[in-house]
Symmetry: C2
Subunit: 600 residues, 2 copies
């Protein structure tokens, strides 16, 4: 692996118009000679035989179909993917692939990207796809870092980039504490709109990275770090274009003239919103979101715990505190290795050997940090007026101090740029992107996540942590565990950071992940979300009663999408024309360049 | 209308085995010569041509099919409905019809009631129904008072009474604060099991009446009165028998060997639970429910407000307090007429004229009550240790006192049997049935509900209240409004109490309801739930974009239930073989005795 110390030349200081991230942040980062994310050094490769054509359609017919679509949407809104693949995260490049791809970038790649501006245009794209039997893959803004980015699951799909032109905040209701947004509204965008309107009583909840789409994150069932952290649970009302082109509004949205679409999620009859999350049953074009009331004060806090084995007793201490909302927000217990990496310093500064970085080196690096040496760091936030916070903080302090060597960190002792403050901002609903710095741990850094769910129990934490470390060690990968405690469950989020220009390390990362998923399932743990490339495997672990749930999912898919055009393979759900035994292995190993296995 | 003063002879003091309500409650009520609910005076009528046979099947074939089912389940578990219809709420009578029926009892009536004891038996019943094309209608315990009780939507359906034999508490997890129950577990049953096990740190949330099924209420999206009042939102994990007989487990339940079914609701892939609420897409045979942590103290409070027109400013005061959880539980603002009726005294004691009871008489009656005269009463609860409660109660007091004449009621000044304490028990998660006393307002009392949803705004409250009063006045019906504030929405719950042995008053009640639904929809308000007889009408108001949502619901129905056997018509969703234009009017007006309009 090469070492990349000086990467400021690749800091992107490009218009942030479509990035979801404000321009000033990049300017600030450049001015300070700091990088949020160093990007990659290699120039984009020349490509062969472009555009990629989806399986089952002739090249000429495909080109003609794209021209037909251009006639409907305007030529400028149908972009053929025939240029070198440039990572497009916060640049003005099209969302053609996964900028952090774990496979070759040509595997999960778009044939074209189209930019609708209205729900009606989304409908016409869907109708077009049905007419020509072309797979389409909708993205909101295409962030989804660590889970596949903007890439389609089926090579050659036409990516519908909803975010570029459908980025309106349709409503912010300061009385109901709700908003209604389109897919291109990022957390930064929503946050700034609320500030601009002077609604200091409204908070938003943000995930680790604020540049993503509010809709995209909720629909993937992502989480944030205030009491409104369960984004899916906090939404109210969807507008969905079905795979056959009809538009529905769910909940109260189905009642003409209603004023309750964003205040009461259920409506009357079947509550269908859930089947549009983590699925390929429809394209969400509008979503209502509830907003948190300003709690009247907040106070971040951090504790460190010295030993690896403090994990189990600590998790058992956290459980009742979290369920009873003394710990009010999504609780985070992060391993020291990730905290060291979160400073944005490359691993090579500390260690140049092969295999995982030895723990004594990590501890030495940690000891030199302002936070000091530790094994686990708890990042928390208390909300409300001071006397209410005091009540909760006193209970937390007494409980956490039961762990020998537990230390409360005084935030005043930390420098402004410390990772701690990024966590504090996020827990206060302020969008941030500091979190991404640990991607710089390796050159050409990228990441991919392993995210199993368990109860909040010391035994489960230990089992998952041991499993993770054992399998990471096997593949020589540094282990970055973080336990994220929802309410009654915790997500262990393990980010594998890899050099995306090093095929061997990519293979090791993917093999490691596959082992993790398989071994965790044997212990009864499943993932809450996964990368495109692992979707079949993860879905396959949810196989109770002869895979009854997947058969049910497929029955719905076939009923709603008879031509199988919408995001085939997303979350492991394949439409009928893609389901055939002979092809199963191809699906599982990633779709190959010359075919998707689709029956013509 | 006759007057029924002495009804203690019909107080049911029968074994409460299948009632969901403990025996001692009935004994207590009888001992005190008090009635919870007076029942009816008329003996059950003799019936003709029993059992009722579902449309589309010959009588002999039907009898033979029932015998075949008896062979599978045991004869004693297939009960033909050929005896007089006796109200079965807390007696040992079968759940054959709606004991509070607004139509003739023979309209929505079961042909037979069957009692499975396992999920496998539910599967075999479903397979049997598909084989013979017999409509089946699952109930948990058949309470659902005011919304259709135990009655099937289609006359002659075979009712699957899940509650009688599938009434096990499969798990109570004191670490995760969760439980797993079968359909026959009532709130009373769950409450007592938790007490028996000594789990003082676990609370349940209960709706107004504690005798119903935990599953049944959640699946109908009922609410309770603690911070865990949104029962659907608080569930985690379902086991569902599909209309074609397969069994799925949702969420983490699909992962073999998992220990997260009750702690993480979503699982991986489409979150399908919602489509099994208020629908006819499956039979829920197990459900996980999260339990509230004991908040470490609680304190009920009540405020009264003198004038009708205090409603609007009060609702505007409630909104921000509720959204910011200063008002922590489902907030209830009840009209004085209902509070007077909640004492269980018949209307005739106060007024014997026709038309709605004049408000001066209501106020005179209220003035003689311990709570004193008022127009609106707020029933609330504060949770947590004393100093935390003080903080919240002080804010509430300052805000509520902005209404001139607002009075805080000292609970110590009230007699033990006062309605206030029933509300307090319910808000503390203690099952109760006092609420039902207002059904004694009329002889042979029954009730049916109108339940529109609106934002928490004074203008909406006034619009709905005015609409309700105007239409009640038109039909000469006493108006019992209660505003139940969820979080960002309120349900106006209007209970119409009627004499179920008076066909004219029943017709007036139903006509009133139909007007209410229609007029509310014109203003943009829709119901969150409704009675069987109104399901088509209510579903019809959710008709945005040429009824796109209902077409979607029907598409799912046809995919999941191709033979259309499962609860046809529930929530307005009719399977294909019941959908034909010629029959639409029949459906709308209630299914007639000699046919369901089903295509043979």
């Amino acid at each position: 692996m090469g070492v990349q110390e000086e990467a400021s030349s690749v800091v992107p200081v490009l218009p942030a118009k479509h990035s979801g991230i404000p321009q000033y942040l990049f300017e600030k980062a450049t001015a300070a000679k700091k990088t949020i994310f160093k990007g990659r050094t290699k120039p984009a490769k020349q490509r062969q035989r472009v555009p990629v054509v989806p399986q089952g359609i002739e090249r000429d017919a495909f080109i003609a179909a794209l021209e037909e679509l251009g006639g409907q949407l305007g030529k400028e809104n149908v972009e053929v993917n025939d240029k070198p693949l440039v990572d497009g995260w916060y640049m003005e490049h099209p969302n053609t692939h996964d900028m952090m791809t774990i496979l070759d970038e040509e595997e999960f790649v778009a044939s074209a990207v189209v930019y609708p501006s209205t729900t009606e245009e989304v409908q016409s794209i869907v109708q077009w796809a049905n007419k020509h039997k072309i797979p389409i893959f909708p993205i909101s803004m295409g962030r989804n870092l660590g889970y596949g980015g903007a890439a389609p699951r089926v090579r050659g799909s036409v990516v519908i980039d909803l975010g570029r032109r459908m980025n309106r905040i349709l409503d912010i209701n300061p009385e109901d504490y709700t908003c209604l947004v389109e897919p291109g509204v990022s957390y930064y965008g929503l946050y700034e709109a609320i500030k601009e309107r002077g609604y200091d009583h409204l908070w938003i909840d943000v995930p680790d990275l604020g540049g993503g789409s509010v809709i995209g994150n909720a629909v993937d069932r992502g989480v944030g770090y205030t009491p409104y952290g369960d984004h899916w649970a906090c939404h109210s009302g969807l507008e969905v274009v079905l795979p056959t082109g009809e538009v529905i509004r769910t909940g109260m949205g189905a009642l003409p003239g209603n004023n309750t679409w964003q205040t009461f999620p259920y409506g009357f009859g079947p509550f269908s919103d859930g089947i549009f999350s983590q699925s390929n049953y429809g394209i969400v074009t509008k979503m209502g979101m509830t907003l948190m009331p300003n709690p009247g004060g907040y106070e971040g806090f951090m504790y460190t715990f010295p030993k690896e084995e403090d994990l189990a007793p600590l998790i058992d201490i956290i459980r009742p505190l979290r369920i009873s909302m003394i710990l009010e927000n999504v609780a985070q217990l992060r391993h020291v290795t990730q905290s060291v990496a979160a400073r944005g310093i490359p691993r090579s500064k500390f260690y140049s050997g092969s295999g995982p970085i030895p723990m004594d080196i990590v501890h030495k690096a940690a000891a030199e940090q302002p936070v000091g040496d530790h094994s686990w760091g708890y990042y928390g936030m208390c909300y409300g007026p001071e006397h209410i916070r005091k009540h909760k903080l006193a209970i937390i302090d007494a409980e956490f101090k039961k762990i020998p060597g537990a230390r409360k960190i005084d935030p005043k002792s930390l420098p402004e740029d410390e990772y701690y403050f990024a966590r504090e901002r996020v827990a206060a609903g302020i969008p941030d992107i500091h979190e991404l710095r640990w991607v710089n741990w390796t050159p050409n850094g990228a990441h991919i996540a392993f995210s199993p769910v368990s109860p909040i129990r010391g035994t489960d934490a230990t089992a998952l942590n041991d499993l993770g470390r054992r399998i990471h060690d096997k593949y020589g990968i540094d282990f970055f565990p973080a336990f994220i405690v929802g309410l009654r469950e915790m997500h262990l989020i393990v980010e594998i950071v890899f050099d995306r220009d090093d095929p061997e390390r990519k293979k090791a990362a993917l093999d490691c992940l596959r082992d993790l998923v398989e071994e965790a399932a044997k212990l009864g743990y499943g993932e809450y979300r996964t990368h495109l490339v692992l979707m079949d495997q993860v879905a396959g672990t949810y196989n109770w009663n002869d895979s009854a749930l997947m058969k049910f999912n497929e029955k719905l898919k076939d009923a709603l999408d008879p031509n199988g055009i919408l995001a085939p393979g997303r979350c492991g759900i394949w439409p009928k024309r893609y389901r055939n035994r002979g092809w199963e292995m191809t699906r599982e190993s990633g779709v190959k360049s010359e075919g998707n296995g689709v029956e013509p």
